[in-house]
Amino acid sequence: MSRQAILLGLLLAAFVVAPAFAGPYLLSVMVVVMYFAYVGQAWNIMMGFAGQLSLGHTIYVGLGAYTAAALFVHFGIPAIFGLFAAAAVAVAAGSIIGALGFRFGVKGVYFALLTIAFAEFTRILFEHFTALGGTGGLFLPVGSRDSFDLIHLRGHPLMFYYLILAMCVGIFLLCRKLLNSRLGYTWLAVREDQDAAAALGINVFRAKLTAVMLSAGLTALGGVFFAFYYNNLFPNQAFGMNRSIEIILAPIVGGLGTLFGPILGALILTPLGEGITAATEAMGFKAAGIKQLCYGLSLLAIVKFLPEGVWPWLRLRLGLGDGEEGE
């Protein structure tokens, strides 16, 4: 077993046993950490592996969240079935955005703009979608907090804790498998040099489209979790631009295109945000926006000094070699 695998195992063990020691506040922070690790990992498939920048990625979170929530609220369909519909809707949306962009040769920044445009007009659409609550929001009936009902995703916070942990493990293993697959190789080739990939007979259009579809579907599952964990959905939260930025921060800070990057990024950023809130409150700063300012400066420092991300730097420091993790 490599040292990277041992490190990952230790981290996983810490998360598994944490509920025995941690209080409800700490656990809720850890849920947020894992949520961002999960959606960051899903986004990383598109950007980190296939090199396609999506700046409107929250569209898939929102579509997944609203689909599963609406099916549950209006038709009583349990989350375990709703998640298939959620993923299907997001995959369809991703295919449309991807097909439009890639077929017409929209590349790089322009493709990123296209993804923002789609997320924004979906937000506006949902704000006027009265059957789903419009701007007033969609609320899920809160069930008993004592049960562990995985079928309906109603129950104790611990259930959500272990669910998102399982999702993180699952997506990590999936991404690792993908990276070592033929599809993963074609993604890397497209990311490195699209023209060269095309010259070798790699179907660039198909490679990019599968990346978007997979990323969208997996992100939507994160959306389902989001909906059932928070029990309320608002268009500006589900589809807002700031949400898209939040999704991409963890993998960028942790290390684009690495398997461990999104996890490490989320482990750094969420506690950083919480810590800054606590610190500014303790020191009695009341100025509006001081938290955001400190958070922004910290981000700036990380990106400035570790442009490749924290994980590639840490991997070197810890003598873990520069191979892909988890080998």
């Binding site: 490195e192 023209d195 007979g201 198909r206």
Partner: protein
Amino acid sequence: MLEVRDLDLFYGDAQALSGVSFSVPDGSITAIVGANGAGKTSLIRAIAGMEKPRAGTICFDGADITGKDSSEICNLGLGQVAEGRQIFPTMSVEDNLDLGAMVPRARKLAASTRDGVWQMFPRLLERRRQLAGTLSGGEQQMLAIGRCLMGQPRMIMFDEPSLGLSPAMVQEVFAIIRRLHEGGLTIVLVEQNVAVSLHMADHACVLENGHIVMEGRGEDLLGDDGVRAAYLGL
């Protein structure tokens, strides 16, 4: 093996190729010569399906490939070694080779073809785990050729294979191309190095400002006064 008829290619409003017609006989080395900007690379890219021509037809081995995606064209056995080599610098030599075998026709044979490439280029075998970007220019060219072979091509288009290489390396690359030809591959050779490519070629065309101005046997073109004056400085 390849028939190009009345090909027009535009980049926006700029015409890169106009009415280009020529053929590549089966099993030949066909040279396409011309000055910088004559449209040589555009022609290769149009044949490979990487640019969509506005008019004209391209037939490869009897099949109409005009406007098809490059992945389909590669899968018919039409490979190319692009200008500037276009290797993936941050990937290993071996991964670069494997990416050449992603087309369906080549997948099953990838392992045995790779062994063949190692035999042909022992230097690549020594460096199989090294990042391709750390190879010398000549080694990168060998990698680009090896990667193209991984796709089981029946015909290879070489775009400026001697560009930026040392004179000794240039000789070696041309020797490799000859060996591939002797092994049964049809070769299209695009070169600024007119003298060498015309000597090697059994068939050749001269491209000027997007037009084919001459087509014939390599030796005949070498003997042509216009070609000698324009490209050989004689």
